[in-house]
Amino acid sequence: MIELRFHEELYDGFAIDEAVKLYEPYAAFTLVREPGGYIVKIEGRPESEGGADEALVAAELANYALGKTIERSRAATPATGEAKAAADDDATKEAA
């Protein structure tokens, strides 16, 4: 089993939740909230059951959690002015 520790001042709890959900098919997870942060315990599943190496899952999950944390922290800050608002309107609707 691998334990990943994420400090609450550096990682977003929702980002970690999202990361765990994404990698759920590949391993078994236990999430623990403790003072100062979050612990994600990862236990690998056999490949025959669709699992993957737990060290790999842990590493990829950490990267994903970091990316999502950054995304959420940027979304939480005011947009960079009118330029973003101007260009944003239909971008997601129209992007192929």
Binding site: R5, L10, N63, L66, T69, I70, S73, A87
Partner: protein, 181 residues
């Protein structure tokens, strides 16, 4: 005096530094640059200290020293960029709005027709533009916020001088934005 501590391993780098030198966004930005080549982890290393751990995805070809140097340079670049961007926000917005507005051009009829304007939203008036002055700053029954914004004591007659709240004047960037959309 703060110091930056670097520990090199085979395919791994751990760098600890005083976070007062680098805003959190700079730390995130610098760490993220490595996410395609490394597994990245951030942690606290004591009071006001952050530790960044990079573990190369391909340890056999990784150059830890190079990663360390790159991370340090990227931290500096990201921190400086945040500072420059903050000081030049209006310039960035102005140029970006003009470039995107100029490239996109005005919306066509199809786009206007596709906009989310229906009976429920068509008459929304968040800025109170359609409201008369009297209605907006009515003497009796007005909210305390309105009377404070009015900037003077209320009187009982229409000749009482009221100072309307300051209405932000559209900046050039906003004007370009209006054109763009």
């Amino acid at each position: 005096m703060s110091d930056m501590q670097t520990v090199l391993g085979e395919g791994t780098v751990q760098i600890e530094f005083d976070e007062s030198f680098y805003p959190k966004d700079a730390i995130y930005g610098a760490a993220y640059v490595f996410i395609d080549r490394c597994y990245v982890h951030l942690d606290r290393a004591g009071d006001k200290r952050v530790r960044v751990t990079l573990r190369a995805k391909n340890a056999s070809t990784a150059d830890s020293k190079s990663f360390a140097g790159e991370l340090e340079n990227e931290l500096l670049g990201q921190a400086w960029r945040l500072s420059i961007a903050s000081e030049n926000r209006q310039l960035i917005e102005s140029i970006t709005a003009r470039a995107l507005g100029g490239a996109a051009g005005p919306p066509g009829l199809d786009e206007l027709l596709a906009m989310d304007i229906d009976e429920a939203t068509a008459f929304d008036d968040p800025l109170g533009i359609a409201m008369s002055w009297e209605e907006k700053y009515k003497k009796k029954g007005g909210s305390s916020e309105e009377t404070r914004a009015a900037g003077s004591t209320l009187g009982d007659d229409d000749e009482t001088t009221r100072v309307p709240p300051v209405v932000p004047v559209a900046s050039p960037a906003t004007d370009e934005t209006e054109k763009a959309t």
